[in-house]
Symmetry: D2
C-alpha cells in the first residue's frame, strides 16, 4: 500500500462549504500520479517519455462523510485487480482530523499506447510495481 | 428528459489531450444545476434561498469514448430512481461531433437541510420536477 | 463589444464563500473563447484546425466586489490594443444581481503558430474581428 | 523567503499542451497557503479558526516561459510591500527542469474580518511572519 496525505485547499470546497464531490476523482488521479512515483521518472516519465497512458474506463465513488476546509485527507492507494491490460485502483480516503472514511474510490484504467491510441501490453516494471501493491482478497 | 449542450473548454483536457476523466463529474453537476433551472430561482435558489442541498452519496462513471478539444457534449439528464429522500440522476453524455456515447454517469444524492446538516423531506415542487423526468421501465 | 453572461457555478466559490480569485482568469479565457465564436469554427477551429494560438504574456485583475453563488457575471469583452502580433483583451465583469463591477481584467496574448511554437502574423480574418471590437479612447 | 516546489499535474495543462495561464493564480494561492504554514494552525487556522481572510484586490502575472507536464515549479514567495491592512505578495515561479523564470506574480490582499466582511487590523503574529519575509527595496 502506498499513502498520500494532503490538506484540503481553500478553493476545493463548494457553496455548501464541503469538498466538491467531483474533487475526489481529482484526488484519485493525484494519488495515482503519486503511486507511480515508485518508478524512475514517475508518472510523467510514462506519459511524456514512454508515451504510455492509463485512460479510465470506469470510476466509482462512495461518499461516506463530508470534508471541510481546515481538514485533510490521508489516501491509501492499492490495486484491487491486475489484469493483462487493465488495472483497478482503489483509493480509500480518510479525514485527517478523525480518521473517518470520507470516500472510497474505485478506478479502472487500461494501459494504453498514447501514440497508437490503443491498449497495449503492460511494461514489466509497471506490472511489477502494481503487483507489489495488489491488496488481496 | 432535460438536455444540456456545451462545448469542451480549452482548459478541460489533460496531458494526453483528452477531456480529463474527473471533469465528467463536474459536467454532471453542471447538468444537475441546469436541470433545476426548471424551478423558480433554480438550483441556486434551493441552495442559497431555501438552504436545501443535494450532497452525493454515490457516483459512477462509465467512460466509453474520449472527447477532445474542438468537440462538445450533449448531455441527456434523467432520473433513474426517485426515493423518499434520495434521487438517482442519470446523465448520458454524447459527443457533439458524431453522437457517440462518451460517458454514462449515475449520481445519487440525498435531499438535505443545509442548516441542520441532515437529510430532509423532499419539497413538493422538487419532487414534482424530478417525477416528471423519471426515465425508465 | 461582445458580451457573455454566465451564472456562478456551485463549485466556483472558495472557503470564504465568494468566487475564488483565480477563477476570474478562467472566466476571461471563457470569454475569449466566446469572442472568437465570431469566426467560423470559433476558437477551437483556430487551435485545432489552423494551429494558431494565443498564449498569454501578461494578465492583470482588479477586484472590486465579491461575487457569491446565486449571482452571475455579465462580461463585456473588448480589445484595448491591437498590435502586429499581440492583442490586449479587456474584460469588464459585472455582477448580474446589481450591475456592480466585480473584476476588471486585462489579458495580453501573442498570436502564435502552435506547430512552430513562435509568434506569427495575425491572419486577416482574426485581425478583422479584433479590429471591429477595439474600444478605445 | 519561503519556497514551495511542486510538480505539474496531469490535469493542469490546456489544449495547447502547456500549463493553462489561469493556473498560475491557483499556484499563487497554494503558495500563500504554504507561506502561512509558518503560523500555528496555518492558513486554515486563520480562515476557519480566527475568521481572518485575505481577499485579493489586485493580481498581476507576467508570463515568460511555458511549462509542460513532466516539469515542475519552484516558487519563491516573498512580501513586496507590507501595509497597515494590506500585503503585496510576490511569487517568482521557476521551471524545475532548467531554472527558467516561467511566471512572476504580484498579489495584493487586504486583511479582512470574515465575519464582519470588512478590512481589519493585522494580528501581530501575522504581521511578524510577513515582516520576516519582506524582500528588499
Amino acid at each position: 500500500m502506498v499513502e498520500l496525505s494532503r490538506p484540503i485547499k481553500f478553493e476545493e470546497v463548494d457553496a455548501a462549504n464541503i469538498v466538491f464531490f467531483a474533487r475526489y476523482l481529482n484526488y484519485a488521479h493525484e494519488a495515482m500520479e503519486h503511486f507511480f512515483g515508485g518508478l524512475p521518472g514517475g508518472y510523467a516519465g510514462l506519459i511524456v517519455g514512454r508515451r504510455i497512458g492509463f485512460p479510465a474506463v470506469h470510476a466509482e465513488v462512495k461518499f461516506s462523510a463530508p470534508v471541510r476546509f481546515g481538514d485533510g485527507l490521508r489516501i491509501e492507494i492499492g490495486v484491487d485487480k491486475l489484469g493483462n491490460r487493465s488495472v483497478v485502483f482503489r483509493y480509500r480516503m480518510y479525514r485527517t482530523s478523525d480518521g473517518t472514511l470520507a470516500a472510497d474510490v474505485s478506478h479502472t484504467v487500461v494501459v494504453s499506447d498514447l501514440a497508437a491510441v490503443r491498449s497495449c501490453e503492460m511494461p514489466s516494471d509497471v506490472r511489477a510495481l502494481l503487483q507489489a501493491h495488489v491488496t488481496g482478497s
